[in-house]
Structure formats: C-alpha cells, structure tokens
C-alpha cells in the first residue's frame, strides 16, 4: 500500500522536478514552432496542383501518421549518427517532435483552408484578386480561426509526446520521475508527481483553448 508515501522526498526532489518541467515546457514550445513551420511547408506543397510537390508531401504525411512516434524517434536517434550527424539527445528529440507533429499540423491547416466555402474563392477570383491577395485577405483570416482549436489540441498531444524523450535520456519531466523512482525506489512519488505536473500543463493549454474560442467567437460576431 501507499501508507509510506513520502511527501518529504517529493519536496526534496522539487528542484529536479522544476527543472524537468521547465525543460518540458521550452522543448515542447520549440518543437511546436518547428512543427508549425514543417506543417505550413507540407500543407503548401500538398495544396499544389501538380504531383511533383503533392506526392512527396502526401507520402511523408502518411508515413508519419502510420508509424509510432517512438519508432520515428529511434529512427533518428540511431540513424542520424550513421549519416554523420552526431547531435545531442535533446536536439534529436526536438527534431523528431517537430517532424512528427508537423505532419498532423499540415492536415489541420489544410482542413482549415478547405473549410472556406468555394464560392468565396470564386468570388475573389472573379473580383480580380491575385493569389496572394486572395489568400491574405479572404482565405487565411478565416482559416486561422478554424485552425486555432485543433492546433491547441495538437499542442497538448505534443507536450504529452515529449515524455517519450525520456527514453533517449533527455532530462525532461518524465526523466525526473524516473530518476526519483530508480534512485530512491519510489515510483509512486516520482510518477504521481510528474502526472500532476502534466495535468497542470494540460489544463493550462485547455484553458487557453477555451479563452481563444471565446475571443475568436466575439471576433467573428464583430466581423
């Protein structure tokens, strides 16, 4: 039973958990930015008419979606050194998370752009807008609104996925829990504490999602 659950040890290890939490937050944030870039590029390729750009983008998105992140992470972790890139584990992890989430974000953005009624696109073509004007003035502002909630959902997934980086010994939150579990043989203290921290992050992003939907809702009402 858990009658000798030691809060004192948790307090003692609090600096370690704090560091882990901070690392998890900034590496997730960095990976999210990377994923946005990857996603936008992939989506732009995917929306082209010719197959030259479309085919590789589609193949990449399917390959990422049909394989587990852990296998992708190991692929880069064991594979990159073979190609001559010897990088720190943390960098490998950020690359893996960016490349993985990017594929999902590409689909989110695509769904957002395709949600704009065809009539609007035709109307802007008819009124003589260029491609850039059409995108900038008509499609993207509306698509932006539609994509924010699922993007925040993807951010939650990314934060949770970042726990896998502990398996290539990146010193993030889950790693801190593992350390406490193995140093002091206190798995309950270690893993329950990090679970609480992840929940905290989850509710923060969820709160952000609620706020943004309220804000976007009013923005929509004003327009």
């Amino acid at each position: 039973m858990l009658e000798n659950f030691s809060f004192r040890t948790i307090v003692e290890y609090l600096p370690l958990f704090g560091q882990g939490l901070v690392t998890t937050v900034w590496l997730s944030a960095l990976s999210f930015v990377g994923a946005l870039i990857v996603g936008i590029v992939l989506c732009a390729m995917n929306l082209q008419r010719g197959w030259l750009f479309r085919a590789p983008a589609k193949a990449y998105i399917d390959a990422v979606r049909a394989t587990p992140l852990l296998a992708q992470l190991y692929f880069l972790y064991f594979g990159l050194p073979r190609l001559g890139f010897v990088l720190p584990e943390l960098v490998v992890g950020i690359i893996a998370l960016s490349l993985n989430s990017g594929a999902y974000i590409a689909e989110i953005i695509r769904a957002g752009i395709l949600s704009i009624p065809r009539g609007q696109v035709e109307a802007s073509v008819a009124s003589g807008m260029t491609y850039v004007q059409r995108m900038r003035l008509v499609v993207l502002p509306q698509a932006f609104k539609v994509t924010i909630p699922p993007l925040l959902g993807q951010a939650i997934v990314l934060v949770k996925d970042s726990a896998l980086l502990s398996l290539i010994s990146v010193a993030e939150l889950t790693r801190a829990g593992q350390l406490l579990a193995s140093d002091r043989f206190m798995p309950a203290e270690g893993f329950l504490t990090i679970a609480a921290f992840y929940l905290l992050l989850y509710y923060c992003i969820k709160g952000l999602a609620v706020l943004s939907s309220r804000w976007l809702g009013t923005a929509g009402a004003r327009a």
Binding site: R65, T67, P68, L70, G79, R82, L192, A195
Partner: protein, 205 residues
C-alpha cells in the same frame, strides 16, 4: 558491409515476426476491451446522472492530460504496491484502452431506452470514423509498452540495433511493419468519413 548487415537482419526475422505478433495481439485485445469500456463510459456519461458524468469527465481529463508513458509507468510500478501484481503484458493491456473513451463520448449518446433502437445505429455511423482513427492511435501507442520490456515490434528494433549498428535500416523496417498494419486502417477511416459526409449531403472540396 551493407550485404553483411542485410544477412544479419534476415537472420533476425523470426524475432521481428514475434514482435509484430505481439504488437498485433496486444492491440487487438486492447481494442476490444477499450471499445467496450469506452462505449460503457460514454453511455453512462450521457445517462442523465450529473454526479456520474462529472466523475467520468474528470477521469477522461486525467487520462487525456497525462502522457501514455507516465500512465504505463504508474500501472507497472504502483499497482504492485497495492498488492496487485501484473506481468508486463497485462499492464500493457490495462493501460492501452482508456484513451478510447473519447471516441464513444464524441458521439453524444442519449438515454438507454432510446439507445438501442434509435441512437446507437445512427451514432455508430458518426462514431465509426473517429473510432477507427482511435484504433490507429492505439496500435501506435502500443509501441510505448516496449519501455516496460515487452518484446513488441519497437523493442525488437531496439534489440536488433544493438547487434546490427544501422539504425536507419533497422527502424525503417520497423516503420514498414507498423505501416503495413496502420495504413489500411487509415484508408478505411478516410473512406468511412467520405461515405458519411456524402450521406449527409456535404460537399467534398
């Protein structure tokens, strides 16, 4: 050099098959249990009792708000402290299904009486695409059980790469294994989605 590695890899194909088998069996059992649990909780949550739906909602948040790896560690390391000894396999299965609740919840199911005749058959059509999508997630998530020492496909890759130091090739092949299992399901989910979209008179752009 490469040829040598190929031979060595070819030699470990029984291990790879066992790993793939483990992944498929683990996923299948979890899929059945998870679907039952998910439907049960989903129906209970919309059953009208506020207390029950609040508890289930909190449980879903708890599961959705923490990484799967952490859940696996919790089950694997902490249940023994309560005198519940699970071998890795059972622990793996226990922890997989919970993520499935959402798909059933997403349908907005209604009361039990109306359930069987009216709601379920119609809800099924709405639930099916995200449910199949959830199965793909489940199969991919099952790779995380390699962290508690189950010899699934990912763990096989990890074991083989210690002998054959070609991470690119080994994990490419691991990826192919997952792709073979997951891609048909992804295609199925897309088809179902399109069919249901067409049934509702939505225009595919």
């Amino acid at each position: 050099m490469i040829w040598h590695q190929f031979l060595s890899l070819a030699g470990s194909y029984p291990l790879a098959l066992r790993g793939l088998g483990m992944t498929v069996v683990l996923s299948l059992i979890s899929l059945v249990l998870g679907t039952l649990l998910g439907f049960g909780l989903g129906i209970l949550r919309t059953g009208g009792n506020r207390l029950i739906s609040i508890i289930i909602g909190a449980w879903v948040d708890l599961i959705r708000g923490t990484p799967f790896l952490v859940q696996i560690f919790l089950i694997f390391f902490i249940l023994p402290e309560f005198g519940i000894e699970l071998d890795a396999f059972t622990a793996g299965i226990r922890s997989v299904p919970t993520g499935q609740v959402e798909a059933a919840l997403a349908s907005g199911l209604s009361r039990w009486q109306r359930m069987r005749q009216v709601v379920l058959p119609q809800a099924m059509r709405i639930v099916l695409p995200p449910l199949v999508g959830q199965y793909v997630l489940l199969i991919k998530d099952s790779s995380v059980v390699s962290a508690i020492g189950l010899t699934d496909l990912t763990r096989v890759g990890w074991l083989v790469v210690q002998r054959v130091p070609n991470g690119l090739l080994v994990f490419f092949l691991v990826g192919v294994g997952y792709f073979i299992v997951c891609y048909p399901l992804i295609m199925l989910a897309r088809r179902l989605e399109r069919r249901i979209g067409a049934a509702h008179g939505e225009v595919q752009l």
